[in-house]
């Protein structure tokens, strides 16, 4: 029996008057990696941001429908969004590094969430860096500026920063699209390990990446009005090798073949 961590019901996303995403209904399972694939501009990122209510901050964005996290609709008025975002962490496409030291970058989320005990902060920072496979590379220069890290290291630093606040779900928005294959591999290895403890949703442009790491695949496609729709969702082996929807078949074969 697999547990459902996040469930969306009739999820729609609008920017101003334009509908971006239409009627998405999915279940996201515990300790799995779900890949979100599809062409650009089909609302994949918007979908991701609607799961931790980051769309709230984008001017003109509006979300309708329901998103249940552990059975609770996160779009109800009395939900503490700040607490929610510490449970559902996010890593962005480009590394978002604060102009601070490596250590302070990872500690940032803890400090914002009012963790005052410096020993605890150190412990969490260290654990997070170990989980993100960055500890060995930076343990001797934690006080150096984080900008001196390579892009791949910076992205793992962002992952560590999110892990430090101990979320349950990780949302990753094309985290490897600016990375070289070696750095990409490192992130993928980390994610495969993390899935034992976390539930991961990853938007990716790379079908190969979806194939390599995901357990489930969601395929978003624009309809004739250019509104993003979830056209196929299932275990990745089935979706990627034996898709039901002809559009998925076209997309999967077109890009691989």
């Amino acid at each position: 029996m697999v547990n459902i961590v996040i469930r969306t019901e009739y999820l729609n996303v609008y920017y101003g008057n334009r509908k971006i995403l239409d009627n998405v209904n999915v279940d996201i399972y515990e300790n799995s990696i779900s890949a979100v694939i599809g062409p650009s501009g089909t609302g994949k990122s918007s979908f991701l941001r609607s799961l931790n209510r980051l769309n709230d901050l984008i001017p003109g964005a509006k979300v309708t429908g329901k998103v249940f996290y552990r059975g609770r609709n996160i779009y109800e008025d009395d939900v503490n969004v700040y607490l929610l975002r510490t449970r559902i962490g996010m890593v962005f496409q480009r590394p978002t590094i604060f102009p601070m030291s490596i250590y302070e970058n990872v500690a940032f989320g803890l400090r914002i969430n009012n963790v005052k005990d410096e020993d605890l902060i150190y412990k969490r920072v260290k654990e997070a860096l170990i989980k993100a496979a960055l500890w060995d590379e930076v343990k001797d220069r934690l006080d150096d500026g984080a900008y001196n890290l390579s892009t791949g290291q910076q992205q793992r630093l962002c992952l560590a920063r999110t892990l430090a606040i101990e979320p349950e779900v990780l949302l990753l928005d094309e985290p490897t699209s600016y990375l070289d294959p070696k750095s990409t591999k490192k992130i993928e290895d980390v994610l495969l390990k993390l899935k034992e403890k976390y539930t991961i949703v990853i938007v990716t442009h790379s079908l190969n990446q979806a194939k390599r790491i995901s357990d489930y695949v969601m395929v978003f496609m624009p309809d004739e009005d250019n509104i993003g729709r979830l056209i196929e969702y299932g275990p990745s082996s089935q979706v990627l090798q034996n898709p039901v929807d002809p559009k998925t078949r076209e997309y999967v074969e077109g890009l691989i073949g």
Binding site: N52, L54, L57, P59, Y82, L83, R85, T86, G89, M90, F92, R94, P95, T96, I97, F98, P99, M100, F108, G109, R111, I112, N113, G145, Y147, T151, Q154, C158, R161, T162, I165, Y178
Partner: protein
């Protein structure tokens, strides 16, 4: 054709530099012989050979210091509010428009309003307090532009990251906007400080004093400032006063340089490198 454009733009660059250079050299030649400790630390005198400007320097430092602090804090609050809390674009544009309007109001009008309202209605009189608050509003458009520019230069992605880690708006302001934008906002506000240092018209209206021997101590004391004193000196026909005016200008420029150098120092020391990979 290319050459013509090159010469024109080169000329456009050279003209202000040459004019400024001639002006500075002239002022320096005229005034430097009068600069000495007695001049800086002495009191104004009707005998030009015993002239000192200490009370005037103190008046200027008071006005510039207090007005810059008030104006910077107002600018900071306004910019944070606009950048982080206002989502209505129309309202934002309205505020920008009002700030532009404020920048276009002649400075003597600020003086009149300041004297009338703060001086008489609120009863602060022709004091440093009245002058500083008036000056703070006069330079507000400049501090607003500087602080806004500083906060806007902070990448949206860093704010989003903070939010994604569970930060509230207030925490984004105190943990991202202010620490990352402050040094840039401060150095950007240097223009405002220069303006406050150089303005004569509103102070002429508010203080009315061209000459005082009394060093201002409390905020409610009367005062005069360097630009006004220069104005006082150049209105006299004798050559010696022209030279003294040049000496005061040198002091004024020196104070401004001191402020600039301090701000550059802080910029280098505390500035963060803000760029995206």
């Amino acid at each position: 054709m290319d050459k013509l454009v090159k010469y024109i733009s080169c000329g456009a660059l050279a003209t202000p530099i040459i004019i400024l250079g001639i002006f500075l050299v002239q002022v320096f030649i005229d005034g430097i012989t009068h600069i000495n400790l007695d001049f800086i630390l002495g009191s104004p005198s009707y005998d030009p050979s015993k002239m000192g400007i200490f009370p005037v320097i103190i008046g200027s430092i008071y006005i510039v210091g207090i007005s810059s602090i008030i104006s910077f804090l107002m600018g900071l609050g306004l910019s944070i509010y606009l950048v982080e809390f206002v989502t209505n674009e129309r309202f934002k544009n309205l505020v920008y428009f009002v700030v532009d309007m404020l920048a276009g109001v002649p400075s003597v009008v600020y003086g009149l309003v300041g004297l009338g309202f703060i001086g008489y209605v609120l009863g602060a009189g022709r004091s440093i307090l009245t002058g500083s608050i008036t000056m703070a509003f006069l330079i507000l458009p400049l501090t607003v532009v500087a602080t806004l520019e500083a906060f806007r230069s902070i990448p949206e992605s860093l704010k989003m990251t903070a939010y994604s880690l569970g930060a509230s708006r207030q925490e984004v302001v105190t943990n991202v906007l202010i620490p990352l934008g402050l040094s840039r906002a401060l150095t950007g506000s240097i223009l405002a400080v220069a303006r406050a240092l150089g303005e004569a018209a509103p102070i002429l209206v508010i203080s009315g004093l061209l000459f005082t021997k009394k060093v201002p101590l409390s905020l409610l004391d009367e005062f005069t400032v360097l630009p006004l004193y220069i104005f006082n000196l150049v209105t006299r026909p004798q050559l010696i006063y022209k030279e003294l005016a040049s000496a005061v200008i040198i002091v004024l420029i020196a104070i401004f340089m001191l402020v600039s150098i301090t701000s550059i120092y802080f910029r280098l020391k505390y500035s963060y490198r803000l760029y995206e990979v």
